[in-house]
């Protein structure tokens, strides 16, 4: 499901120039995100119409970068992945959409993507890969996570995340072994960073909103004050338990790996000792010592399990537990 950004060569070149002359790449280039009301409505509509059955609904965000904030001015949805010949269609679909939108003066700059989430379970390998490829190509890109279930309960739940620079480096190296992660001393807290969102509307849209409010008889909805949130609570708890089980399995694997490693070390030591003993015995008997065998070939070190998934699961569990807590309060 990983889809990469459309290579916009001219814009990339100009962006690189400004990056070289402007701020250093280590600082976060995006401090705030400004979303147009239109984008919010489109995302809501997309989930409502197409996302009832399957888990996630995705799309592309378009906009531009203004100093230290990212403006998202439009978006378009991505079709569901049901057919086999998906890859070719994806890229072509994206290209066609961008080209057409350029004709009607819509910003055709790719600045990120959005995804809907089911009860908060969005921290996955696929998300990481996609966001990494986006952020690698376009530095300021973000992923918007839209939680429809929480929104239906009364308050719009839209969050923007980016990968921290540290995580970017690790993904670049592709070194997910325990030693690599230890070197970077990365924990699950500093994997993603949240960027604050601000919604902006133009004057004309404000007029439209005024009109809508007058015309439509929108009865006041008080889902916020609804006290019966128990089924959502149950669902969150179930997902939390699933993630904790996954975590457990992963930790178990890591523990067996550590144990195997230490056992192997012991075996190596024993072998060396025996060798020494034999050699001294042989020397005392006057025979030539046994040749030093290559130890590393005899004892192959066990495969270190990739720790990236553990990190992801840890992040997910944290996220889930926060949501679990939040659900009980509201």
């Amino acid at each position: 499901m990983c889809f990469g950004p459309f290579p916009l060569h001219q814009t990339m070149a100009s962006r690189k120039e400004s990056a070289a002359s402007g701020s250093s790449p280590l600082e976060t280039p995006v401090k705030q995100i400004q979303i147009d009301g239109l984008v919010v409505l489109k995302i809501i509509k997309h989930y409502q119409e197409e996302g009832q059955g399957s888990e996630v609904v995705q799309g592309v965000l378009l906009g531009l970068v203004v100093e230290d904030s990212l403006e998202i001015t439009n978006c378009f949805p991505f079709p569901q992945h049901t057919e086999d010949d998906v890859d070719f269609d994806e890229v072509q679909y994206q290209m066609e959409m961008m080209r057409s939108l350029r004709h009607v003066n819509i910003d055709h700059l790719h600045v990120g993507w959005y995804q809907s989430t089911h009860y908060g379970s969005f921290v996955s390998r696929a998300l990481l890969d996609s966001q990494f490829s986006y952020q690698h190509a376009i530095e300021e890109s973000v992923v918007l996570i839209y939680d429809p279930i929480k929104t239906a309960q009364g308050s719009l739940c839209l969050k923007a995340y980016r990968l921290t620079p540290k995580l970017m480096e690790i993904c670049k190296e592709k070194d997910f072994s325990p030693e690599g992660l230890k070197k970077a001393c990365i924990g699950f807290e500093i994997m993603f960073e949240e960027v604050p969102i601000v919604i902006k509307n133009s004057h004309l849209i404000n007029v439209l909103l005024l009109d809508l409010q007058e015309k439509s008889t929108v009865a006041d909805k008080h889902e916020l004050l609804n006290l019966s949130s128990s089924n959502h609570l149950e669902k969150s708890l179930q997902l939390l338990m699933d993630r904790v089980d996954d975590m457990n399995q992963d930790i178990g694997k890591y523990n067996t790996y550590c144990r195997n490693l230490s056992k192997q070390q012991q075996q190596k030591q024993q072998y060396l000792q025996r060798r020494q003993q034999e050699n001294t015995q042989r020397q005392s008997r006057g025979e030539p010592p046994l040749p030093e065998e290559d130890i590393s070939k005899m004892f192959k070190p066990p495969q270190a399990p990739p720790r990236m998934d553990t990190l992801l699961i840890a992040g997910q569990v944290t996220c889930q537990s926060v949501i679990f807590m939040g659900r009980s309060l509201f």
Partner: protein
């Protein structure tokens, strides 16, 4: 409406005085009939996302263009048409000719169909107040794409200090067999929202208040507080109305009285101890959940530290 009729009429060649008189009479009669009926045909239900897109594409129009047109997508029913999506189509308009990029429209429709296969072309929109002659031509084109297309106008120039949003459907008019023309009859326009859309629109409404037209996403607590505040306001309004009635200032209204009765009866009858025990058990649950969540988080953090050692 009357101006539209006049324009249509002027466009047609008149073949003779008597015939023109009869057709003009016919038009006058039809006009008055439609004024009385005011609505004819399916009800048009619009989602706010469509209107926002239209306004946005109007803001992004090319230099020199006075209006923007585009295609409307949605679903049709026996008695209603629901407009759920739209996209703008580049076009050039001058005094005597109009050119619409049909290829573009077709391409965009294909792309949109990939995402939501249930949406079909149901009409087109244009910004601006009047229906011009060019609209007739464009409408003809769209009649080839969809049966009985809807024409939506959004008055972005705010001619009457309001953004008038109207929908029309075209129908034949004139003396049959002789001068035939096209008339746009208005339809009722309703706004429909999904639940989540309503919440989104509500949030967007708040940008009207701030001078910089921006609005951050509020925290959960603030929203609960504001919802509770709203309920309180409503209660005070109701209470003041009742006081007015009791003191005789306002006439009592039976239907309102019935609603009030409903309201009072809806509050469930619980004794004080039951209520207290319910509240306490709820608070206990809440505390347990918080504890559990914190425990999980602490465990994970500990695990991380151990791994790094």
């Amino acid at each position: 409406m009357w101006q539209q009729l006049k324009m249509k009429y002027k466009n047609h060649e008149s073949h003779g005085d008597l015939r023109s008189l009869s057709s003009s009479l016919f038009i006058i009669i039809l006009h008055f009939l439609y004024e009385i009926m005011a609505v004819h045909g399916p009800v048009v239900k619009i989602h706010p996302v469509v209107l926002a897109s239209i306004v946005d594409s109007y803001e992004r129009r090319n230099e020199g263009a006075t209006r923007v047109i585009g295609t409307l997508l949605g679903t049709t029913d026996k008695h209603s048409v629901e407009v759920t999506n739209c996209f703008s189509v580049p076009h050039n308009e001058s005094e005597d000719e109009v050119a619409v990029d049909m290829e573009f429209a077709k391409n965009m429709y294909e792309l949109h169909k990939k995402v939501s296969p249930s949406e079909v072309i149901i009409g087109w929109y244009a910004t601006g107040y009047d229906i011009t002659e060019h609209s007739v031509l464009i409408h003809e084109y769209y009649s080839r794409e969809a049966p009985n297309p809807i024409h939506l106008t959004v008055d972005t120039a705010l001619q009457s200090n309001k953004m008038n949003i109207r929908a029309y459907v075209s129908s034949q008019m004139g003396v049959p067999g002789k001068t035939v023309g096209v008339m746009f009859t208005p339809l009722t326009v309703k706004y429909v929202y999904y639940d989540t859309e309503r919440i989104g629109v509500e949030l967007l409404q708040r940008t009207r208040a701030s001078p910089s037209r921006t609005n951050g996403l509020t925290t959960d607590l603030a929203q609960v507080a504001s919802a509770a505040g709203r309920v309180q306001e409503m209660l005070t309004t109701v209470l003041s109305y009742i006081e007015d009635i009791l003191s005789g200032k306002v006439m009592a209204d039976n239907s309102v009285g019935r609603f009030l009765m409903d309201l009072v009866n809806k509050v469930p009858k619980i004794t004080a101890e039951d209520f207290e025990s319910m509240l306490n058990s709820n608070i206990n649950d809440l505390l347990m959940v918080t504890y559990l969540a914190n425990l999980t988080q602490a465990q994970i953090a500990l695990n991380e530290k151990l791994v790094v050692l």
